[in-house]
């Protein structure tokens, strides 16, 4: 079953055509990794799925509804978590409150219940001992794990990741990828924009290769990494691996 269907999506920023006719699907429980050169439109595509950007043409169907026709955007967004390259933690509150806030404000849970969930999720990402720490005292890897826990607290159907490890020092990349890998093992549906090719190969059910606003090639990791059909894909992979 397709949880996300992207159908002929087009998007421009003023005259800059960023997405020209993108179509792909994400099935329930699948991990789709989007790869491609800088500026190819990967982030824009991801942001469209979370309605941080709107589209000019086409349709994005998530959980059976055309998201650009949705009236209550906030109700939609709580089902679709997003993890950003720059973590984007709330700097005015501690780790626990970062994870509690939206549960209380959006899901209308009471504070105790929300804290239980938050502590559970933070334990799962290995940060149980850090619940009272403020973001500015954490390492990049820890921040990103908090950001993942924060998204998980909403119990989303889908998680979107935009280069979750690109802002990290190399030695912290592994701890974040481990967390994502664990989620994949628990059949979380995820769309991940990444430059970590080894990780993508390991975790993805499908790889989507984007270049200049179109999908040049998509397929299983084996297909894309071992037998890329397209010359551009081959060039890109040879440069990055």
């Amino acid at each position: 079953m397709a949880l996300i269907e992207i159908k002929n999506v087009k998007k421009s920023f003023e005259t800059n055509k960023v997405l020209s006719d993108i179509s792909f699907e994400v099935n329930k429980g699948d991990v789709v990794c989007m790869i491609g050169p800088s500026g190819s439109g990967k982030s824009t595509m991801l942001r469209c799925i979370n309605l941080l950007e709107d589209i000019d043409e086409g349709q994005i169907i998530v959980l059976g509804q055309d998201i650009n026709k949705i009236k209550d955007i906030n109700a939609y967004r709580k089902n679709v978590g997003m993890v950003f390259q720059q973590f984007n933690l709330f700097n005015n509150m501690n780790v626990l409150d970062n994870c509690v806030l939206a549960q209380v404000k959006v899901l209308k849970k009471d504070k105790n219940e929300a804290e239980q969930v938050a502590i559970q999720r933070l334990s799962e990402v290995g940060l149980k001992d850090f619940i009272y720490a403020f973001p500015n005292t954490l390492s990049g890897g820890q921040k990103q794990r908090v950001a993942i826990a924060r998204a998980l607290c909403m119990d989303p159907e889908i998680l979107l990741f935009d280069e979750p490890t690109s802002a990290l020092d190399p030695q912290m990349v592994g701890e974040v990828l481990n967390v994502i890998k664990n989620l994949a093992d628990q059949d979380m549906t995820m769309v991940i924009v990444t430059h970590e090719m080894a990780f993508a190969k390991d975790v993805a059910d499908k790889i989507v290769f984007m270049d200049d606003g179109i999908i040049l090639e998509e397929g299983s990791p084996d297909q894309i990494f071992n037998n890329p059909k397209n010359e551009r894909t081959r060039q890109f992979l040879s440069r990055i691996i």
Binding site: M82, F84, N88, G126, F130, T137, E175, A198
Partner: protein, 252 residues
């Protein structure tokens, strides 16, 4: 000028000075607080950037509000408060109702401060990194929930030195409100000087009192600022990592 004469004036007219201090502080503190509230509203609205989902009518309303608030800010920052004071005081007094002078003074200093505060708050909000806004929205929080819980607390904290500075400015600049004869410190000093004919000594005492008030205020503001910056943090010992799966990262 003799210092002993200064001391004599201070002790002899202490009740008058004290009344002046009281009025000055009431006007300055209330003016700063009400100005801050005005600034939070107007600065908050001005900082809002409509996202793509906003309808055309919302867009037009926002545009109109932006223009009106811009005019307010420019007018009140671009003219002297003394002129604002006489103009507004007599405008209301002769055309609307015979208002209380003290009330008028607080009203005038508040809207004057509000114009400065609006800009302070707006830039404070815009200095909060927009990623936090996106993160909050991506969790399903509304724009007002995001503003109240995430953005404004940080904006106020960042802008605190500038907000505090408005209080200092108001303690000094409320002196121009003597033009509508409220019993603030400058007005009181004028009448003391008028009785004693000791202008130098009287105004020296006045200057010292102002200096005292602003120094105390700076000191208190500084303490508050330090507290704001001193966010409590825990000192965790271990980073209980989940079982490791070795994944090679790029370029290794």
């Amino acid at each position: 000028m003799s210092l002993s004469k200064c001391l004599e004036i201070l002790t002899k007219y202490f009740p008058s000075f004290l009344l002046g201090i009281r009025t000055t502080l009431i006007v300055a503190i209330l003016g700063t607080l009400i100005g801050l509230i005005i600034g939070l509203f107007i600065g908050g609205i001005r900082a809002v950037k409509l996202d793509k989902t906003a309808s055309k009518s919302v867009y037009i309303i926002k545009k109109i509000i932006d223009i009106i608030t811009k005019i307010y800010i420019e007018v009140f920052r671009g003219t002297p408060m003394m002129v604002q004071a006489v103009f507004i005081y007599y405008l209301v007094y002769t055309n609307i109702f015979k208002w209380d002078k003290m009330f008028a003074a607080i009203f005038i200093i508040s809207i004057n401060t509000g114009a400065y505060m609006a800009e302070i708050i707006r830039s404070g909000i815009q200095a909060v990194d927009p990623g936090q806004n996106e993160a909050a929205r991506s969790l399903g929080m509304s724009s007002s929930q995001t503003m109240m819980n995430v953005i404004l607390p940080q904006a106020i904290k960042n802008a605190f030195p500038a907000i505090g500075n408005e209080l200092i400015v108001n303690i000094k600049d409320s002196s121009v409100l003597m033009i509508i004869s409220i019993t603030e410190l400058m007005f009181q000093s004028n009448s003391i000087a008028g009785t004693t004919y000791r202008f130098t000594e009287t105004y020296f005492v006045t200057a010292m009192i102002y200096l005292f008030l602003t120094s105390i205020s700076s000191f208190i503001l500084h303490l508050i600022e330090k507290r704001l910056n001193n966010t409590k943090t825990s000192f965790p010992q271990s980073d209980t990592n989940i079982h490791s799966i070795v994944i090679a990262s790029k370029g290794e």
